[in-house]
Amino acid sequence: MKNELTPFQEALIDGVLEAYQDMPEDIPQCTPSEFQRSDIRPGWQRRLRYASIAALIVLLLALAACAIPAVRQAAIDFFFKDAGDHFAFTYDPEAAALAPRCIETVYVPTYIPEGFTLVDEMTCSAGVARYYAREGGTPICFDQYVIPENPSSGEGGGPNSEGATAEFITLGEITVLRTEDDEWINYYWTTTEYRFSVSVNDKTMEMELQKIFFSIREDPDAIPEGGWN
């Protein structure tokens, strides 16, 4: 942590605090007991209303997995719930416990539609991302992440669920969650090691999205560097 700040950094801190200049000076203090220091996510109880939906999906998934043994062997079961404005995911804890805690093998799409170029990328211990775009701005996003350390906690930042539909589809032997909103089509799936997503914001490109899905291969030359911890 830097102790010596530049004038720019000082100005940046004050600039952020400027937004709170209307804050009253006599705000009462809180006691630590009002908040919990644990991994129980806030609002968990309130979100129990989604539990019935999740339970139904668990049942359907279990039935599907029994019907297609290959899926059971090829992927970590995951479940999703509508967290109000995004889809949150949970994972089979026993299988997730065996998954790598950092990216050991990097996967990337080997097919990208004509006209698209790589505009942003990340390869670190926590995840792999590749963003492609073409003139006009239509992006394709590919992400590979580790399965969360606490597989029972819903992760934020999933695809938008407002006005979105969600359904499981089967591509090859993999069960894929397909979500669609006004702008995006997202595929989300797991293997025994990682979770993946690929998204496109052009509704006419779903066939291309599937080609990208089937083209994902290990990149033996890619080395994850650094992480976010």
Binding site: T6, L12, D14, P32, N150, G157
Partner: protein, 182 residues
């Protein structure tokens, strides 16, 4: 367990208690100005604290002003994330967001200035969402991914806002007549 993620559990427990006592009320106020329900506000602050302590090693504990900016930013974004009507659609990546040659140099010149007052005036003209990204990455040295988690945004969005924030600041400095291009 969250606690197991933290290297110095006892120290972090004390830090947690201190931050709640020192900034919990202010965080509740910030969340309350965004959310109408006090229970929602409390939930947002709980979420903000959760995210702050996932990255406890990044907390600027030695500087109260920095820590206050960090905590209030976490609370504001946790509250925004809870707005039911909020549109969370990600701003799309466009070729427009690719860095322009020379732009980074100009930004370096802006940040190298020592005129605090004119810098503050320019920064205050930036939208708050850009200020927050610049704060977390350029002051607190968070990675894009860490900042994204604290701000409830996708890494791609944060990258984009970082680029746009830098570019917009250069534009504002130009508009304000700052002579930094020599």
């Amino acid at each position: 367990m969250l606690l197991s993620l933290l290297p110095e559990q006892a120290e972090n427990d004390k830090l947690f208690e201190w931050i709640v006592a020192e900034y919990g009320g202010q965080m509740l106020w910030v969340a309350g100005t965004i959310l109408s329900d006090p229970e929602d506000g409390k939930e947002a602050v709980q979420e903000a604290l959760f995210r702050m302590f996932r990255n406890a090693h990044r907390l600027p504990v030695e500087d109260k002003k920095r820590l206050r900016a960090y905590a209030l930013t976490a609370a504001r974004n946790a509250a925004i994330n809870m707005l039911p009507e909020r549109k969370r659609r990600e701003e799309t990546l466009t070729l427009d967001d690719l860095p322009i040659p020379g732009e980074e140099d100009l930004f370096e010149k802006v940040t190298a200035r020592e005129d605090y007052k004119s810098l503050l005036r320019a920064i205050c003209l930036l939208p708050q969402r850009y200020r927050e990204v610049l704060l977390l990455i350029l002051v607190e040295e968070n990675t894009v991914e860490e900042a994204a988690k604290l701000l409830h945004r996708k890494p791609g969005t944060v990258r984009q806002q970082l680029n746009r924030g830098k570019r917009r600041l250069v534009e504002i400095c130009r508009e304000e007549g700052m002579d930094f291009e020599k």
